[in-house]
């Protein structure tokens, strides 16, 4: 092994405090925003990690401990989520991760994403050590006062005309994402936001920061789509109150279907997500076809889009999207399974959408707190 020069050794010693600080999660890693002269992103994708990308259990202390000591290789992503994230990594797209995991997890989580071949532009974690040192124990569980300013700050640093958000049903992601979308669109007044922050028990200085960001954030109806991964298999009906833009999904094939219909993904990319799910052995072709039918039943995908996807996927398969996949049945057989699921519904129309009303965020936050209290009493907890 080559001997290090004195200069190198001194240099390494001088970075020691930084490396130790990194290890114990002392730093916040505030996203720097775009470099000078860099073009703004065309589309930003914001992802939560635990229970959205990663299969994480938080329901007991043992689960928490296990999660904290897992290596990157031990951690497991939901089938299809790495393929989806890789597919979204396109020119002009920005991938931002905001997770409620503590900053001490940065190294292992970064390594996990690298193992999955996922690249990102921003990665924000929660600095719970700082919260403990400042005696801010309420902040350790708080979701809105943590995630909302992180997302607003990120948008101020790099503003895209379109955004897509990914969260889960474990905690308040649906509320936070809709609130963020409505703040960006200028549909929430500062007075209303102040009331929401009060209801979410934000500390005064944290609330002031959120209000400042809300004032400064570039306005625009940017959030096109929000996905809520139904990790708890929650009923999807209550999510209808958040409107058509928020789509609860049981798996990432469903998210890929909607993104295809939105024109964000191609049929070939949908195939890649499907293949990763099939390769996981947790899904079979029938499950994917049933997932498509489920989206149609819920009015989240039209019959026309479903049939268009089958036609486009047939073309993609013919041009080599399934090359070297001798383990799969002929593509026409697979396409027929999807068409059959569409036919199975007969002429049944999905339920009609009610006219969308503005959301009462204070009430939603109160309900969420009540829900969380009930869950805690029942011996369950969660973290986003």
């Amino acid at each position: 092994m080559a001997r290090r020069s004195l200069f190198e050794r001194v240099a390494r010693l001088s970075t020691l405090p930084v490396r130790v600080g990194e290890r114990i999660g002392l730093f916040d890693h505030v996203p720097p925003g775009l470099p000078d002269g860099a073009p703004p992103p065309k589309h930003t994708f914001r992802w939560d990690l635990d229970k959205t990308y990663l299969r994480t259990e938080f329901d007991s202390f043992a689960d928490l401990a296990k999660s904290a000591f897992e290596t990157a290789a031990d951690k497991s992503a939901f089938p299809g989520s790495p393929a989806l994230l890789r597919s979204l990594r396109q020119d002009g797209h920005r991938i931002c991760i905001v997770s409620g995991s503590p900053t001490q997890m940065r190294q292992v989580l970064t390594a996990k994403l690298a193992l999955d071949g996922v690249e990102f532009d921003e990665f924000v974690l929660k600095n719970n050590l700082k919260n403990i040192l400042r005696g801010r124990f309420r902040s350790m569980r708080a979701q809105i006062p943590y995630k909302l300013p992180a997302m607003l700050r990120s948008r101020i640093g790099a503003t895209a005309p379109a955004e897509t958000l990914f969260g889960d049903d474990a905690e308040a992601d649906a509320i936070i994402y809709c609130l963020y979308a409505d703040i960006c669109a200028g549909r929430v007044s500062l007075q209303d936001l102040e009331r929401v922050l009060e209801a979410s028990r934000a500390y005064d200085d944290d609330a002031a920061i959120v209000l400042d960001f809300a004032r400064r954030v570039p306005k625009g109806d940017a959030v096109r789509r929000m996905f809520i991964h139904l990790d708890r298999k929650s009923p999807s009906l209550p999510f209808r109150r958040f409107g058509r833009r928020l789509v609860p999904v049981f798996n990432y094939f469903q998210a890929a279907l909607v993104l295809y219909a939105d024109g964000v993904l191609t049929a070939r990319q949908v195939i890649f997500v499907a293949l990763e799910m099939l390769d996981s052995k947790q899904y079979e072709l029938g499950h994917l076809a049933t997932s498509l039918q489920d989206m149609m039943r819920r009015g989240r995908m039209t019959r026309e889009d479903a049939l268009r996807l089958v036609a486009d996927a047939t073309e993609a398969a013919a041009s080599g999207a399934l090359a070297e996949r001798s383990d799969l049945p002929p593509f026409e057989t697979m396409a027929e399974a999807f068409r059959a699921r569409v036919r199975s519904l007969g002429n049944a129309e999905p339920p009609a959408w009610d006219p969308e009303e503005p959301l009462d965020y204070v009430r939603l936050v109160d309900e969420e707190h009540e829900h969380r209290r009930t869950r805690r009493k029942a011996g369950l907890s969660g973290a986003g």
């Binding site: 298999k233 049981f250 798996n251 094939f253 899904y283 039943r297 199975s344 007969g346 002429n347």
Partner: protein
């Protein structure tokens, strides 16, 4: 993956409780796909209000359904798109592996008979029913014994009765985890020569069947005692016996209610016995059993009680899943083949 087709429109509490039971089964049986057959619009409205796995519950539209009190033959002839018929067709076409219904029993049996093939060696299918007994059986201390046939057909020859014994024994082995279920013929005496010619002939054949733990003939009073784990009889007698047993149970409950109203001392007596009565109710809770099978066809069919709630439906789906996992039909076919060869 086992695909279990569920008639979502059959039963007193259909479709709500049926869909709820299927939704629960999609979570507790990750190796299964549930296919709900019925009014796609109604089912599509119900499912999102329940916890379930959207990748494991699919819907097959059926425009009509057979009511609980309709005449089976006439109803199926008039409604070719009835949910039970569509469900049976799906299984016959290989798009499903087993069928569960809480709907009209006659229509369910007839739909299967029209669409499905009998297993090799089986001459007649048999509808089974479970009945709580004094003695328990199997690894799970199962309090239920199996009676078949209770009405799939009216008459049975000696050969048919032997077939019923094989099918009942295979089912009890699998579902009650009972390694050597005791099989008996229902007759008017325990002696081998008692009863009609079909019973006497079946008795002789079953004595020679090595795979069957045949304990001989039993009388009606032995059924609630639980002397046998599988009680074999012809459909006409089985149906009369089953209805009588149900009638006795209902009468006991009515008498208890009468006693509760009539005298304070009797009421106090019932209150003193309430915990024991509750325990008895939990032991004999038919909802935990889920349903009873129609045996002899190439696919498992589990008939859930008409009054089934979500829990009973979930359990019926679990029984169907168990029948598929344990290859019930294969086991019956194998034993029938061996019997035929001897």
């Amino acid at each position: 993956m086992h695909r279990i087709v569920v008639d979502a429109m059959g039963g007193d509490h259909a479709p709500d409780e049926i869909v709820r039971g299927a939704a629960e089964a999609s979570l507790s049986l990750p190796g299964a796909e549930i296919i709900l057959v019925g009014d796609a619009k109604a089912l599509g409205r119900l499912l999102p209000s329940m916890r379930h796995d959207g990748a494991r519950v699919r819907v097959e539209n059926a425009a009509s359904y057979v009511d609980m009190d309709e005449k089976p033959g006439e109803a199926l002839a008039a409604k070719p798109d009835a949910s039970i018929l569509v469900a049976a067709k799906l299984v016959a076409a290989g798009e499903g592996d087993a069928l569960v219904s809480a709907g009209n029993t006659g229509a369910s049996v007839l739909a299967c008979a029209k669409q499905w093939k009998l297993l090799p060696g089986v001459k007649k299918a048999a509808l089974a029913a479970v009945y709580p007994t004094e003695l328990r059986r199997g690894e799970k201390d199962d309090p239920f014994s199996l009676i078949l046939d209770v009405g799939a057909t009216v008459e049975a020859t000696a050969e048919d009765l032997v077939g019923f014994a094989v099918m009942g024994s295979a089912y009890a082995k699998l579902v009650s985890s009972n390694k050597r279920p005791r099989v008996a013929l229902l007759s008017n005496g325990t002696e081998p020569n008692k009863g009609p010619a079909s019973i006497v002939g079946a008795h002789q054949s079953l004595l020679a069947a090595a795979d069957i733990n045949f304990i001989g003939n039993i009388e009606g009073l032995d059924i609630p005692r639980g002397v046998a784990d599988v009680v074999v009889t012809a459909g006409f007698t089985g149906n009369v016996v089953l209805k009588m047993l149900e009638g006795v149970s209902e009468t006991v409950v009515r008498l208890a209610r009468y006693a509760h109203k009539e005298r304070l001392a009797w009421r106090l007596g019932l209150i003193a016995l309430s915990s024991a009565i509750d325990q008895l109710k939990s032991i004999t809770d038919w909802q935990q059993y889920g349903g009873a099978p129609l045996l002899g066809f190439a696919h498992p069919f589990i008939k859930a009680h008409g009054r089934s709630n979500a829990r009973a439906v979930t359990n019926a789906i679990k029984v169907a899943h168990k029948a598929l996992s344990g290859d019930l039909c294969g086991a019956i076919a194998k034993t029938m083949n061996e019997l035929g060869a001897t």
